[in-house]
Amino acid sequence: MDELVEAFATRKPSGLDQVYALWSRLFVSVARHVISDSALAEDCVHDALVRVWRSPNRFSGNREMLKAYLVTCVRNESLGMVRREGRRDARELKAARLAPVTSVDPPVVDPVEAQRLQGALGRLPEEQRAALTLAYYGNKTHVEIAQELNVPLGTIKSRISMAMRKLQTDLASPGGSRS
């Protein structure tokens, strides 16, 4: 098992230190994309990490999987807070109008990865890209996306699912991910 993952999973302080040093900016960026209030966004990061820390048996895998898992926890915690407390603030509305990759103004979380992502998103069929963009960067529910694009709910789910799977293949491919 990866040293960092093992340290985190066994609740060694060094595990949390490394996770924080490597990914705290990523986590806060993910949370603040959902919640503009920085204190609330940090609350979500804090609560998500502490919850995982207290239940280490929920996770097994390598370092990249841990990162992806924690990013999911932070995003879900943030969206959960918004839904619970009805905080759909200006940032969300603004984010909903953003075309994510074409509107990347530095600094972004990871400029190199963002460029790879831009290429991969550009290779998606337009209808899949639109649905995924509204879902992730617009923080919209599939119901809202279905209304906005005027297509059935099931179709939206399928488009997003397909888009995610194509991105996974594309980003995993050394040749395909170059843009």
Binding site: R25, L26, T72, E113, L117, Y136, M164
Partner: protein
């Protein structure tokens, strides 16, 4: 084995599922390696999508809070004799539901335990705990609006339950719930205000709730 997840595997890491559906996914992948792998791949894609987000920098306070919250702490909770408080909580719940004003009760309680009187006369909130596992427990928390006491009641606990609290000062181990027949209860007077409580059975989270004041 139930049916595989299908498209929910990709919707889950995007945060597009409601809380019930998200819990269904978490329950399913705990016992289905095929779907766990598919969700893991989708999580990796979601993490890649985050690369294009505007960069935000955490405040120094976040690191401090995380260190405090994850530092093992001795129990910082003053345990108290449960019985009078349990009795008081039962009274209080009944009276809350009935909307009965406490006038008559005051007369009856004057000669009883001071703690019981204090509790019944407190302004308190209550919250149902959300299930956190495939084998959850039905539980409720009553707590003083000023945070001075917390009373946890679990119905048919199905084993020993342990309460962990997230307080303003960090994580605190509240201790085990005392079992009595079909219920288990715990009353504590926390030193620091509690923000959330998680019940664990054999080290696994089974229910949780956030407290608002």
């Amino acid at each position: 084995m139930t049916e595989h997840l299908g498209e929910d595997a990709e919707l889950y890491p995007l945060g597009m599922l409601d809380e019930d559906a998200a819990r269904d996914v978490e329950r399913h992948i705990a016992s289905c390696s095929e779907c766990a792998e598919r969700v893991g791949q989708a999580q990796a894609v979601a993490a890649s999508l985050a690369a294009a987000l505007p960069l935000s920098t955490p405040s120094p306070a976040l690191e401090r809070r995380l260190r405090e919250s994850t530092r093992p702490q001795p129990t910082a909770i003053r345990r108290v004799n449960l019985f009078p408080f349990a009795l008081a909580a039962a009274f209080a719940l009944a009276f809350l539901g009935l909307g009965w004003q406490s006038l008559v009760l005051q007369q009856r309680l004057k000669t009883q335990d001071v703690a019981l009187v204090t509790m019944v006369h407190s302004h308190f909130n209550h919250v149902s705990m959300s299930p956190e596992s495939a084998n959850p427990v039905a539980a409720k928390i009553l707590y003083a609006r000023d945070g001075s006491w917390i009373y946890i009641i679990a119905d048919k606990p199905g084993g020993s339950l342990h309460a962990i609290a997230q307080t303003e000062a960090g994580v605190a181990d509240l201790g085990a719930l005392g079992s009595s027949g079909e219920t288990a209860t715990l009353l504590v007077h926390p030193r620091d205000r509690i923000r959330s409580i998680t019940l664990q059975r054999a080290g696994t989270d089974v229910a949780s709730a956030r407290l608002t004041y």
